[in-house]
Symmetry: C2
Subunit: 243 residues, 2 copies
């Protein structure tokens, strides 16, 4: 056995936030995500694979498919799993374009939004404390390695916005059409919870209420998915102010 | 027992495409999706719930939570499940804005794209025959009822494009920046497979190769998720030509 019982216990524990916080570790699965993290300068604390595998100078310890399945959080394990140290988070710099998430609950949505921030050059993502943990394994799988390039802070959003002097934009159901807005190169874009949108208190702190117009029939779908909406809005910010 | 063994067998069979095709039926779960389908004029062939439930004149047959779990494809069943007839698909009208999907495999992506088409008033979605089935239960759950308002055809994409006289746009990794393109109100937008993009043969049929520019560092995420990219491109088409 090249993986010990205590390692198995530690790794499966990391599916829970309290153990990720306690040990300052998180899990990534599959060669694609693992190699993106390693290439971004992260060094795996542990690295296991069910076949011979070496990524950018890090070699995996060979274990059986059964052992890999035991430590995997996937229904069907990929061929590899690595454990990384949670990077230190720097204090938020209130400049540039910042995305702020209010109570996003779905790990897939958060992962997709991190990937979108990476694509559109948004290096800071600020989350309310009740947003899903960015080191949740499902988030890590959805980010495809972007987590290494986007800084994610958890804080009281209302206080953060109050202390910042950036203009604050929020995505709402009936605001100004985003295509007609003057979007700046610096600012905060607030995206709300999947079911309830931006909380009432936070909505009062917005300087601009913006909306992606609907072009379908009146009875069309009642809202866009929050990750899709974030993508469209970031595209608009960058179209108007980007290089 | 208000649900028979043969009904249980039929409904669980509908998780597989061959039985959906054989019986011309599909399954939707949860009051939100079911009510959107009923409100769009679809009539449930069967409608079960584990609590008293009536939607727009259709009343569910009350069954036990255990029975509902047995017929559900969800890990944890919602409170209701309905079976609908697969609607007849009309022939494709080669006018307006049409989205064409080349070998999309992930049900969540297809569901999100159907919802996006609904939002942006795209009433026709044309899929290659190897795209995931739009009546797959995971697709139905992700569409949130939009499946009732977007017509989905499966066909040979290459032949369809050849026979149409619409301009053909395709999302590629290094094409013309979409923000600088003249996008028409009518045309075909081709989106490619999650891993491989648009197939080589189909790429040769494109009139315009368009790209969502990346604003992050060089090492940023290698591509956008196909559903997110579809959302951004549809937003651009409608921004330029919409009402």
């Amino acid at each position: 056995m090249l993986i010990s019982k205590s390692q198995i216990k530690l790794i499966t524990g990391l599916q829970q936030k309290k153990y990720r916080d306690k040990y300052g570790l998180f899990v990534a699965e599959g060669p694609k995500v693992i190699s993106e993290l390693i290439q971004s300068g992260m060094i795996p604390e542990m690295f296991f694979a069910s076949e011979t595998l070496s990524v950018a100078g890090s070699s995996a310890i060979l274990i059986t498919p059964g052992e890999l399945q035991k430590i995997s959080m996937l229904k069907t394990a990929n061929n590899s799993l690595a454990v990384f140290k949670t990077p230190k988070v720097s204090p938020i710099q209130t400049r540039g374009l910042i995305v702020a998430l209010d109570a996003i609950r779905d790990p897939g949505n958060l992962g997709t939004i991190i990937r979108l921030c990476d694509w559109f050059g948004v290096s800071q993502l600020v989350c309310s404390t009740d947003t899903v943990d960015c080191y949740n394994p499902k988030v890590i799988q959805a980010t495809m390695g972007s987590i290494a390039r986007v800084q994610v802070n958890y804080t009281n959003l209302s206080e953060f916005i109050q202390q910042s002097d950036l203009e604050v934009f929020g995505a709402v159901m009936s605001g100004e059409t985003v295509y007609e807005c003057k979007l700046p190169s610096e600012g905060i874009l607030v995206m709300g919870n999947e079911a309830n949108g931006i909380s009432v208190a936070l909505e009062q702190q917005l300087n601009h209420r913006i909306t992606i117009p609907r072009f379908g029939e009146l009875q069309a779908t009642e809202s866009l998915n929050v990750a899709t909406a974030t993508g469209i809005l970031l595209s608009e910010f960058r179209r108007l102010t980007g290089k």
